[in-house]
Amino acid sequence: MHPGRMNGFYANGRERSQRVIENFDILSAVCIELNSHQDSSSVFKHIVDSAPLFEGIDSAGIYVLDNSSGEFILGYHTGLPGDFAESHSSFKRGSGLHEMLHCNETVYPCPSEGSSFTYEGSAQVFIKGLFPLMRSQAALTVMFIASSEPGALPQEIPRIMDIMLTMAEAALSRIDLESSARRSEMQHSLLLEGVRDPVYALGDNLEIKYCNEAFRQLVCFEEERIEKAAFSEVAGLELTNIMREKFDEALDPDNAFSYSEFEYRERIFNTFVSRTPDGLFVLMNDITEAEQTRKKLNFRERFESLLITISTDFIKMRGSALNLGINDALLNIGVSIEVDRAYLFQFSDAMKIINNTHEWCATNVQPQIDNQQVLKTDDYPWLMNRLTRHSAFQILSIPDLPSWAEAERELFESRDIQSVLVVPIVHGNSLIGYLGLDSVNHERYWSEDIIDLLRVVGDAIGNALVRNRMEKKLIEMYRRAEKEAQINAVLLREVNHRVKNNLSEIIGILYAQRRYASDNNDHDEFVQSLIGRIRGLATVHDMLSSSGWNPLELTRLVRRIINSAIANAPGGKKLKASISKTSIRVNPNQAHALALILNELVRNSLKHALTGRESLKIKVRMRKRRAGRIRLIYSDNGPGYPEEVLEHDRKNLGLDLIQNLTIKNLQGELTLQNDGGASAKIVFRRTRAEDKDESK
């Protein structure tokens, strides 16, 4: 019972005022307490429990509409007699109270026929008023206040109930909002924890409001409580320095976010920093794997493009262009694969020798091409064993080479390398060389992809090298054939010229012989001398054509002419020729003239010196003289020249020919004298061509 209540009514105005004040004090206390409730049921309970504190109210309760059944169900209640609560636990549609409850309006005071709403049991319950709660909610909730006595309640009660229920609604809304916020935060947390990349939210002072497990792992933060910690403390100096600029950018009023890519702890992050109303939100997207894959794809694409270029270019390349092309290919391979040295070795001399023919070196890496020449393959059995298998191989660490590869170890160590990749170059079934890649600064493993691609480069280089070699051979053969054809054409022209000259000379001999024969009518001698002279011409023509119209050895020429003339001498006579040896060579024109002169001299000796004698000795002496002159002395041991011949009084064809051939053809001098027989001295000049040929 309310303390101010006496027999249901206040005696006067002062008491009423006092009562009102008390009721509002109670209301104030009830409302303050409402703020402390954290769930709706306790709010409902609180207002229901608080209602009887006001004067005139003995009991209160809440009916809630069950939408499925359409009935109002009694919820919280206080002060009700137990049988009322049981008998009025629900109101079905059609009952008077149901209709009033359902109108969702304040009903106060309840109609006079409120008795019909009273429970007439052991204790009477008079419903004084109905107050809807949570009008905006889907479930209709109505609070009732009741008294055990009939009659009106104090006049401020409806106002108090309105205020209390409004405050209750406010508390319920607050609880609802808090509940939503908590739910949202939980969902947010769950969502962010599911993110694989580091995510964190920072407050205004760059303190961590939230971070996921990935971020914790990234910064190796082991303490359980990370929230509220300063970002710099959690992230460490390196990441703080990286992120500071990005935070500043996102906090710039002109930007809403910053987006950047950076490397941290050997990972690549694509970082998105977004400004939020109360700080920053950061997502560090780890793109390390994606970047590596992209790099791999890029590398493969570039390398395949390089291969196509190399293969296509090599088809067109010849000679020095091919060398440039190989050097360019090595450079491109070296740069693409990021090695320290790329080079080509080629076999020669039936695979006995191997030479480093092309090389590319990275900056600050020592070239080795000059030190890797004329290497004997027998000295490198292990390397040759591997190469002859025609498959690529790599040596990750030079000291790991087997003991029988001592020479190879020395070879590789001399190049100061850590790892090496060797790709044999094979054409058909023949090994023609190998492509090598050196890693000087660190040990390195080359993937199968790279080896496969290099094998294709090796094939392209191999094809180009073999084709180039074959083309060189063909060009050489063609040039040789062309040169031979040119020589043959010149020889043919020379033969033609010589033959025409010889025919002219024969005609000349005939004319000359006819002129001298006018005094001598001996036909037989005419024919014999003609035959002898033409035979002399034939002999020297034979010698010159055999030598290809090159300079002839004088000794050989003299011996051949004299022996040929002696062979046709009359039988039964003893003839002996002594010819000195000399290294002198004479040109074809001189050889031709000398042959005709010697033929005439021998014919003269045989004709005149052998007359009345059984034997004859012929001597020919040849010597080089000063100023490039040659002296040839022909002599016999016969009776010598008649006086009139020496004094040029007597003319005959033989002497005339000797004289004119010496002067005209040899441009020399002739001296005839008797010195134990006939002696003819011929002096003529050597030409430069003979000197050159002699020096050969």
């Binding site: 022209r493 033609n496 010229h497 010589r498 025409k500 000259n501 025919l503 002219s504 000379e505 005609i507 000349g508 001999i509 005939l510 004319y511 000359a512 006819r514 002129r515 005709l596 020919l657 004119n660 051939l661 002067i663 005209k664 053809n665 441009q667």
Partner: protein, 197 residues
């Protein structure tokens, strides 16, 4: 086959036996041998002395080739030249033609072939001499006409009579240049009749 006019021939040949052949053939054909030279150099010396009607020249010779000698002969002692060579390349024929050679015969020649070559070379040479003379006369006449045109006493531009000193000087120069033998052609009727008397 004998020549109607006995021409003097200079043989230029470094091979004695080939010289014998040429000599024999020329003598048979009725030519006179003016001399024999061993090469182009000797031929240049002899040609001034023996004044041949025709030269028979080999190409390949020591000291001076037949082509060089032909050029010099045509320049200093214009004479018909017949080349006689065992070579017969197009280049050599062209070079010989450019050197003023009248005929080109390949060794060994038929006598009739050599005869035709000599006669054609001489005939063409005479034509050439005549042509040269005509040309010389033509040039001279052209020069005279040029000089006479300057002596026109009336200016064809204004129709006025020329009385200036320049005209008098040109006229005087022309009158001085008239050869004494030709002066009759330029006299007036009165002077001519006086001269005739």
């Amino acid at each position: 086959m004998k020549v109607s006019k006995k021409r003097k021939v200079l043989i230029v040949e470094d091979d004695h036996l080939v010289s014998e052949m040429i000599r024999g053939m020329l003598e048979e054909l009725g030519y006179e041998i003016a001399g024999e030279a061993e090469d182009g150099h000797e031929a240049l010396g002899m040609i001034k002395e023996v004044k041949p009607d025709v030269v028979i020249m080999d190409i390949k010779m020591p000291r001076m080739s037949g082509i060089e000698a032909s050029l010099l002969i045509q320049k200093h002692f214009p004479t018909p030249i017949v080349i006689l060579s065992a070579y017969e390349t197009e280049d050599l024929v062209k070079e010989a033609s450019e050197a003023g050679v009248g005929a080109y015969v390949v060794k060994p020649p038929q006598p009739a072939e050599l005869f035709r070559a000599i006669e054609i070379a001489c005939g063409r040479f005479d034509d050439l001499l005549e042509l040269t003379d005509v040309r010389r006369k033509y040039e001279q006449a052209k020069k005279t006409i040029d000089n006479l045109s300057k002596l026109l006493p009336v200016c064809p531009g204004c129709g006025e009579e020329k009385r200036d000193e320049d005209y008098a000087r040109v006229l005087n120069m022309f009158l001085c240049s008239i050869p004494v033998d030709d002066i009759g052609k330029y006299l007036c009727c009165r002077c001519r009749s006086r001269t005739d008397k």
